[in-house]
């Protein structure tokens, strides 16, 4: 398995490939991933221009460990195949497929990616894939999409198009997204892949954004698509375990390890009843803390 499949992806920031000022140093904001966009952000007549910019950015800009995902144009266009060639030749880390509706969509892109890896001498399997679900059909097929390819690391909700398809609009309350969010996170977990939430477009409402992130964090999402670097610190704050969480998780892991050796199954930590069921969760908290750079311990 590609070791990057499970990497930390709390914040995935969209950037228009056609804007040199945007793509030259987004790493200073420390997003976990950037999503270099060839699709909606790029005007129709600049689709070609964006690819040259993308190729040289991937080749020549040191993104300092930030994951470089490319959002290609939809499979219903005559652009996506060349998008894949350019992205893979440039050495991107992953491709984001927009408007994914079926497992076949993923398989089509997977084949193009494999062919491009062959053509440009990149290691087979080195380019990952994520799928954006933007329609009711896509959401209904979430599980088959999640299990469609070994390269697929996760699925993302794209709220704008999805709510249009539902014949409603983004309300700010999240009510209209509830079903899709719930369904997608369940499907992703069942398939063992990651799940990401849609963008929050009102940059003047940072409190609303914070509430939105808290909601999807509680629901179990791995991260969120973002459109402005100002949103990054809030996402990271909410997704990064607090010192209190970390200390508790350390205790839980330590206690379970010791008590197991002593044959004790249920006990208390800081007044809370703990048993083996807490073990994986505590381990995950510590792994997340470590990946977020706030935990330097050994467990």
């Amino acid at each position: 398995m590609n070791p990057n499949k499970k990497r930390l992806r709390r914040s995935m920031m969209f950037l228009n490939c056609q804007k040199p000022g945007l793509i030259k140093d987004p790493y200073i904001y420390s997003p976990d991933s950037i999503m270099l966009d060839l699709e909606d952000a790029v005007a129709e007549r600049e689709k070609d221009a964006a690819r040259y910019s993308l190729y040289h950015a991937l080749q020549e800009i040191d993104y300092r460990g930030v994951e470089r995902v490319v959002r290609i144009n939809g499979l219903d266009t005559d652009l996506w195949l060349e998008d894949v060639r350019c992205s893979v030749a440039g050495g991107c880390d992953a491709i984001r497929i927009p408007k994914t509706e079926t497992a076949d969509d993923v398989k089509k892109v997977e084949a193009a990616v494999a062919a491009a890896e062959e053509e440009f001498g990149r290691e087979q399997g080195s380019t990952l894939i994520m799928a954006a679900l933007e329609s009711a059909k896509g959401v209904m097929n979430a599980y088959e999409i999640c299990t469609s390819s070994e390269r697929l690391f996760g699925i993302a909700l794209s709220g704008g198009d999805y709510t249009k398809d539902l014949q409603t609009t983004i309300s700010g309350t999240g009510v209209e997204l509830m079903g899709a969010r719930q369904h997608m996170i369940i499907a992703a977990r069942a398939a063992g892949v990651q799940c990401f939430d849609t963008v929050y477009t009102n940059l003047n409402d940072m409190e609303g954004f914070r509430h939105d992130v808290e909601t999807i964090h509680t629901m179990g999402f791995d991260g969120k698509s973002i459109i402005n670097p100002r949103q990054i610190p809030i996402v990271h704050e909410i997704f990064t375990p607090t010192q209190k969480d970390i200390i508790f998780a350390e205790k839980v892991v330590h206690e379970i390890d010791t008590k197991k050796a002593q044959g004790i199954g249920v006990f208390t930590v800081d007044g809370k009843m703990i048993d083996i069921a807490f073990y994986d969760g505590a381990k995950r908290t510590l792994a997340l803390a470590k990946a977020s750079g706030v935990y330097k311990g050994e467990i």
């Binding site: 030259k24 140093d25 200073i28 904001y29 940059l203 402005n228 670097p229 100002r230 990054i232």
Partner: protein, 518 residues
């Protein structure tokens, strides 16, 4: 001769100006001098009127002549109408060889370029020059030298008599018929008249120009009638919306917010951040954002500021309103909130001399704990350049940069690592305005560098683990790795300007730029 910041100061310029090369910040400390005493034309006759009908009449009564020095203040910033109005009259009188000694010049004064070309203006002394005049000087159009000096350095130059002002013109938002002047109360307000005090003290003639004549006495006067020879009423002294705008909206640019956050973290994690600390900051987006984030931490920790000083903005006045600062000391108002806040009894007007003159028996800047500054360039020796663009063209002003940087116990310079393709952190600045010995910490979007001479600050920040620390060389290397190493700009031999240190020695020279081929 090589000076203390490693700059070659040619003997010819030392000879021509009678100046010494810069020899370190405290070279003139305690060295006695005699203050210049100006010629005074006393007014005893109670029938004497100071009112004149026109600028022309004022010039004639003050015996305007070719070769004289005239002075102006820049409290009206980019909305100033006074300099152009007076210089046009001088030009129309056919006077030549004038030294223009303004506290600063900007784009508002682009119209003076033809007067430089025709020899009306042959010398310029100012904090700095933005706009077309800067280009004209850098292209060798000015016959004599441009001398760029800090706000404190300018006061020194007048009180020592190095600059002898024949006629000072003071644009005043309000005046009575006897020359009591205030920065408020009129239709074109600038809040304070700090820069002009020294002109009132040292010029032979002082002419007040106002667009709002008020009944005598205009009190409390910011500049007293005892200093003023004539009063001239004109239609407009400035364009209000270009003088003081509404407070700048807090920035939403994450890059600036990040730098502001680093800056605030630096302040609150260094030893001077305790109850009663003193602070000055600027008007840039990051500076304002950092004052706002600092305010939050002051509230959380119950730390109050003793005094805030300098050019003031809304966030500083807000501190006063919230009771988080004991007093504000004001030399310049940057927005309408600062202008209207001048009437607060804890908001004190101070002169540019009290603020920053190095030849006082001490100035306010010496009592600063923190100053937050910007810079066009900072080099690996921590020298700053705030006057000359990286392309070699004069484009900025010293302002109070060297004064506050030397005075403050902790001098923080904020600048983004790159301005487009131009690296702000470089091997050698184009021109030195503030010596590295004055600069303690540089905050960029790529990390924070501490001057290695300040072990104490470095240790404090390492311990706090609050900002990404880098060496200044690392920052430079990152910049060059992204944009490439810039070629050194080519200059002609001719020296067109001098960057004067606070104490009157020469920090650096500015040469004429070479024309590019294309």
């Amino acid at each position: 001769m090589i000076n203390a910041v490693g700059r070659e100061i040619p003997d010819e310029i030392l000879k021509a100006t009678g100046k010494e090369p810069f020899q370190g910040n405290n070279y003139k400390n305690g060295v006695p001098f005699r203050r210049m005493a100006p010629i005074i034309h006393p007014v005893m006759d109670n029938q004497h009127s100071k009112l004149v009908a026109s600028i022309r009449e004022a010039l004639e009564k003050c015996h305007a002549h070719s070769g004289m020095t005239v002075s102006f203040h820049h409290h009206f910033r980019e909305g100033d109408l006074i300099v152009n109005m007076v210089m046009k009259e001088i030009h129309d009188m056919g006077l030549k060889n004038i030294t223009l000694a303004a506290t600063s010049l900007g784009k508002a004064h682009d119209a003076l370029v033809p007067m430089i070309e025709d020899g009306t203006i042959t010398r310029i002394e100012a904090s700095g020059v933005r706009g077309k005049i800067g280009e004209a000087i850098s292209n060798g159009k000015l016959q004599g030298l441009a001398i760029m000096r800090s706000h404190g350095g300018r006061v020194r130059s007048l009180v020592t008599g190095e600059t002898k002002v024949d006629i000072a013109f003071i644009g005043a938002p309000t005046s009575d018929d006897y020359g009591n002047l205030r920065g408020i109360g009129g239709k074109t307000n600038c809040g304070v008249l700090s820069y002009s005090h020294v002109d009132g003290d040292c010029a032979e003639y002082v002419v007040a120009i106002t667009d709002c004549l008020v009944p005598f006495p205009n009190f409390p006067a910011h500049i007293s009638m005892t200093k003023v020879d004539y009063v001239c009423v004109v239609d407009a002294i400035g364009i209000p919306e270009k003088i003081a705008t509404g407070a700048a909206k807090p920035t939403t640019d994450q890059r600036k917010l990040m730098m502001a956050e680093y800056c605030t973290q630096v302040v609150v994690n260094t030893p001077y951040f305790k109850d009663g600390f003193s602070y000055q900051t600027g008007v840039g987006g990051a500076s304002i954002a950092s004052t706002i984030s600092l305010t939050k931490i002051m509230q959380e920790r119950g730390v109050k500021m003793g005094f805030g000083v300098g050019g003031l903005t809304k966030p500083m006045c807000d501190l006063l309103d919230m009771g988080l600062v004991r007093v504000l000391m004001d030399t310049q108002a940057f927005d309408l909130d600062a202008v209207s806040n001048v009437i607060d009894p804890k908001h004190h007007r101070i002169t540019a001399g009290a603020y920053a003159n190095p030849f006082n028996k001490g100035a306010f800047v010496n009592k600063l704990d923190y100053v937050i500054l910007a810079s066009l360039e900072v080099d690996v020796h921590f020298n700053c350049n705030v006057v000359v663009g990286s392309d070699g063209v004069i484009t900025g002003a010293q302002g109070g940069h060297p004064d506050t940087a030397q005075g403050a116990k902790c001098t923080i310079v904020i600048c983004p690592l790159l301005q487009g393709r131009i690296p702000a952190i470089c091997t050698n600045v184009t021109t030195v305005t503030t010596p590295g010995e004055s600069v303690d910490i540089v905050v960029t979007d790529y990390g924070v560098a501490v001057n290695p001479n300040r072990h104490d600050l470095l240790e404090a920040l390492k311990k706090a683990d609050c900002v990404p620390l880098k060496t200044i060389e690392e920052l430079r290397d990152i910049a060059y790795s992204i944009v490439g190493e810039p070629e050194p700009v080519e200059f002609e031999d001719r020296i067109v300007g001098i960057i004067e240190a606070r104490d009157g020695t020469i920090m650096d020279v500015v040469r004429q730029v070479k024309q590019t081929e294309e």
